[in-house]
């Protein structure tokens, strides 16, 4: 069985936000408004976190693109009373909107704070409804959502492979953020496949994971910056 995972090379990331916008466009995530900003209710499955260190003039800044970590041992799944979020056999932490009762246990239990609750109905103007991706559902008020590794793309790739009577190739499936990343900082693939790039990179000495000490075992690996960053 495959285990989909991501490697994020911090050496390459320029914080350009292409992944963030690509994700919103692919997954029908509505843009926020000033009220949502005030109340911290804006939704962004992929975000670029920043860490600013030092004092003028010796300043350093790091950018961390942060999708869902798709943990091996996901804290959100443990608390879901209705099985709306679960770990699927291919390593993706999936979310079923129709099962979600909006209790928000999972949003509170996620140490990476990357689950988002729909406090209000997404406001799409009639014109903008045209650009919605038909492969992904629009959400309703009161459900939790998060990064799905563009799971619908996997389904599509599998269908295409079946139609062409062949095995699914690893490169058939990439999430929207990975596809658009201008510097190649995001790398995606099968962590179980010893020949894959993500497998190799996840084992090198630069690799680390966010909040590793919690034992959540994220399937998203980061590669630290090289010496240039000091």
């Amino acid at each position: 069985m495959r285990k989909w995972g991501m490697v994020i090379d911090l050496d390459r990331c320029t914080g350009c936000q292409a992944c963030v916008v690509a994700c919103k466009a692919e997954n029908n995530v509505v843009f926020s408004d000033p009220t949502q900003e005030e109340t911290h209710r804006a939704i962004s499955w992929m975000s670029v976190l920043t860490v600013l260190e030092g004092e003028y003039p010796d300043v350093k800044e790091k950018y961390f693109p942060r999708p869902c970590m798709h943990c091996e041992n996901p804290p959100c799944v443990k608390v879901c009373p209705v099985g709306a979020t679960y770990k699927n056999p291919e390593g993706i932490v999936a979310q079923v909107y129709t099962r979600c009762i909006g209790c928000r246990y999972c949003t509170n239990n996620c140490p990476y704070t990357l689950k988002y609750f729909n406090y209000s109905r997404p406001r799409w103007s009639n014109e903008m409804k045209n650009l919605l991706n038909p492969d992904v559902s629009r959400r309703q008020v009161g459900v939790v959502e998060k990064c799905s590794f563009c799971h619908h793309r996997l389904q599509k790739a599998k269908e295409d492979a079946r139609f062409e009577k062949r095995e699914l190739r690893e490169e058939d499936y990439v999430p929207a953020c990975v596809q658009t990343c201008p510097t190649g900082a995001l790398i995606f693939g099968d962590l179980e496949n010893p020949k894959s790039e993500v497998h190799r990179l996840s084992k090198i000495s630069r690799a680390f994971r966010l909040l590793e000490e919690l034992g959540t075992e994220p399937q998203v690996f980061y590669l630290t910056e090289g010496e240039w960053h000091g």
């Binding site: 320029t14 914080g15 350009c16 936000q17 919103k24 992904v136 000091g230």
Partner: protein
């Protein structure tokens, strides 16, 4: 229609998956399409070119049942190779923006108010045509003006051709890179930009250049940055007053007093010259006036003074100079940021002189000049006597009578001269997205403009500031709905022609600017129309594209492997045809999305140096007096210097406020979504009693605006930084978003030599605002 494979996917897939998909689920809120049909959606991927910025990246647009739903990169396009920036990703929000103008509108009642009446295209075109003909017959055709932005496409040619035939010299294109072109004109005799071969250079010494975020070829630079960081063979030194994105990605950030970048460059030059660390062979063979330059430097540049005036420690200057010498090939780059100062041209020239000292002009890893794509030239125009007479009138450049060395057209001067009616008044003005700076001046002088220009036509696709001025709006489509070509920016050394085609039919009653002009041309009489023989704009484009087939070089977009092979062959003088006929060529061209020529020919001296001596000219004779002496340094009322910067990917475009997905991420470094911020050094903030996220007023003698204070160690204690082109509303209607535009704070000062507005010397104070 028969049921296809996709139907089964819809029916079966949606239910069995964790994620509810497709239209099979009856609950309305899960339906992302309004289609009630169960028939298969028709999916298409259409190659086109993104024109959300001047870059022109290749894109593939996913169109489902006539709706454009997603943009991905065109993997064959040599500029972006399948990648798309955040602005490009949000592009469809332009297409489906609620702010779109639905059809031709005529202003009724008072010109200062915005009351509109919908009219038909026939009526609109007749109005314009009658007006143009009447002016022409009364010998006033030169009083018609067109203001747009500098674009790399055939529309530019069409518009200038139209006004030439009509008889008006007043076709204004605003080009923020003008100062850099002026600098290359002085030093190399070319009014053009030079490309930087980042692939092969090992040190980028950047004087405030936003090469990772605001250059038209930013996608290429980002890709090279990623590759070279992974290889570890790249060093970036960013010299800039503020800790920008580039500074955060650089090996070293060197803060500098704003406006004194050129002086630092001369300081570095003085070390290179004194220590004989420059490329003597190159200087001898390819440059002139070096001795004057050397004498000037030895007599006038003292490093301790440079250090004091720039604020860069002496040891750092020496370190940079050494690094500059040892890490060859190296490039010293600057961009339009340096030009927005009262010593702009000097700054850019001084930086470019470092490149000549290093000998990296027209060499691998240095500065290259892009060849023009071999498009067919439009046939020469035939002018009638009215046009000939009118064209001899003085051009309304906005700089007449001034003693500027390089009168580059800029928004402010142009508007001023229109308002002063010198050399003559403008009786009809056409506006087509002339860019953010122009727009901000318009807002300041709206009443005056309406008073002195009797008839204004806007081609804006959106209800915005230019359309609010207009008496008539002839809404252009967005670039997703029309035929267009796009020529790569000269900042990239490869000539690329991308073909942009309509991915969907024009929405509402909008009509491409190009068809409007062609239609107008046909109403202007037979003599006029014979200069525009093409039935539509697509035909005109294809006419130009045929030149690519006949040129016998380059190829239609191809895989990296084929591209490399072609480059090797072409650089050795070989070329093999890939198509039998023009038609086959055009068909393939439209399918793949464009044409490119990956080869580069070095040592074509007359192409790189076009001045009389065919050499790089060192400039030492002007501009240096008074540099770095911070004239208006002491000012008790306004103790802080204002540093305005462009946000990533915005450059000069004012349409970006119609892309909320893109706008909301611009403040990501500060966790801000919809607020304009002001960056304050912790020390300064402490002294003023300002805390992080306080609402403050930023006030200059010109006015004040409200912003969120962000405590940021990336600016010096005497500077506050503010972003340009950030809107405060998800969708900005009627210029609301620009009320809080930091451009309004600027003092009216200009580069003495180029007339470009000075963004660097405005002083401000900040103080806490009472909330609401």
């Amino acid at each position: 229609m028969t049921i296809k494979r996709r139907d089964f996917l819809k029916i079966g897939g949606g239910l069995s998956l964790g994620l509810p998909l497709y239209t099979c689920i009856s609950d309305k809120s899960y339906n992302s399409t309004s289609k009630s049909s169960w028939l298969a959606a028709v999916e298409q991927w259409i190659p086109s070119v993104c024109q959300a910025c001047p870059g022109g990246c290749g894109i593939m647009v996913r169109v489902i049942d006539g709706r454009a739903v997603k943009i991905e990169g065109n993997p064959l396009h040599p500029l972006n190779k399948g990648k798309v920036c955040p602005k490009g990703q949000a592009g469809l929000q332009l297409l489906y923006s609620p702010e779109r103008v639905r059809g031709p509108l005529k202003k009724i009642g008072d010109r200062n108010e915005e009351r509109w009446e919908t009219i038909s295209w026939d009526e609109a075109l007749n109005t314009v045509s009658a007006k143009l003909q009447q002016l022409r017959e009364s010998g006033k055709s030169h009083t018609v003006a067109f203001a747009g932005k500098n674009q790399q496409n055939t529309t530019d040619e069409l518009v200038s051709r139209f006004f030439e035939v009509y008889g008006s010299p007043n076709f204004f294109k605003f080009d923020e890179w003008a100062a850099l072109k002026n600098a290359y004109f002085v030093s190399q005799g070319i009014y053009d930009l030079m490309a930087v071969d980042l692939h092969n250079s090992r040190l980028i010494l950047s004087f405030g250049a936003n090469f990772l975020s605001n250059w038209p070829n930013v996608m290429e630079n980002q890709r090279i940055y990623g590759e070279k960081r992974a290889e570890g063979d790249l060093k970036i030194i960013q010299i800039e007053p503020r800790f920008s994105i580039e500074a955060s990605r650089a090996d070293k950030w060197i803060p500098i007093n704003q406006g004194s970048e050129g002086l630092l460059a001369l300081g570095i030059a003085s070390i290179l010259i004194k220590e004989r660390l420059f490329n003597q062979a190159f200087v001898e063979r390819f440059t002139s006036q070096f001795n004057e330059f050397r004498d000037f430097i030895l007599q006038n540049i003292y490093l301790d003074q440079v250090s004091e005036m720039t604020g860069v420690p002496l040891s750092t200057i020496i370190e940079i100079a050494k690094e500059f010498h040892t890490r060859q090939p190296v490039v010293a780059v600057s961009d339009f940021n340096l030009s927005y100062s009262n010593k702009g041209l000097f700054n850019i020239l001084a930086v470019h002189s470092l490149n000549a000292l290093a000998g990296n002009i027209d060499s691998p890893g240095g500065f290259l000049r892009r060849r023009q794509a071999p498009l067919t030239e439009l046939p020469p125009v035939t002018l009638d006597s009215i046009a000939k007479k009118a064209l001899s009138e003085e051009e309304h450049s906005g700089t007449s009578g001034s003693d500027l060395l390089f009168p580059s057209k800029n928004a402010k001067d142009m508007i001023d001269s229109m308002l002063n009616k010198s050399p003559y008044g403008i009786s009809c003005l056409f506006l087509s997205s002339p860019g953010h700076q122009f727009v901000s001046f318009i807002q300041k002088k709206k009443a005056d403009i309406l008073e002195s220009i009797p008839f204004i036509v806007s081609f804006s696709s959106f209800m915005d500031e230019t359309s609010s001025l207009a008496d008539l709006i002839l809404p252009d489509t967005t670039f997703y709905e029309k035929w267009q070509d796009h020529h790569s920016s000269p900042l990239s050394e490869i000539p690329i022609v991308g073909i942009s085609r309509p991915v969907i039919q024009p929405l509402y009653q909008s009509r491409p600017l190009e068809s409007t002009l062609l239609t107008l041309a046909k109403t202007m009489g037979e003599d006029f129309a014979q200069n525009f023989p093409w039935p539509d704009y697509r035909e005109l484009l294809l006419y130009r594209m045929k030149g690519l087939f006949r040129a016998k070089k380059g190829s239609i977009f191809s895989s990296s492997y084929e591209e490399a092979q072609l480059r090797i062959l072409e650089e050795r003088g070989w070329w093999t045809p890939q198509h039998d006929s023009e038609d086959a060529f055009i068909k393939d061209l439209l399918e793949k999305g464009g044409w490119q020529d990956p080869s580069y020919h070095f040592n074509e001296r007359s192409f790189v140096y076009q001045n009389n001596s065919q050499r790089f000219v060192f400039v030492s004779s002007f501009g240096i007096e008074g540099v770095g002496s911070n004239e208006n340094q002491e000012n008790e009322d306004y103790p802080l210097r204002l540093f305005l910067f462009d946000l990533p990917f915005t450059s000069s475009d004012s349409s970006s406020k119609n892309m909320p997905w893109y706008q909301e991420n611009l403040g990501f470094r500060f966790g801000l979504l919809w607020k304009i911020w002001v960056e304050v050094n912790p020390e300064t903030a402490g002294a003023l009693g300002i805390r992080d996220k306080d609402i403050v007023w930023v006030e200059s003698p010109q006015g004040r605006i409200k912003a969120v204070a962000k405590i940021f160690p990336g600016v010096g204690p005497e500077i506050v930084g503010m972003p340009l082109n950030k809107t405060e509303y998800p969708l900005a209607s009627k210029g609301e978003a620009d009320i809080n535009d930091p451009l309004h704070l600027l003092e009216e000062t200009y580069d003495e030599r180029t007339g470009i507005p000075d963004r660097m010397s405005t002083r401000v104070k900040i103080y806490k605002a009472r909330r609401r």
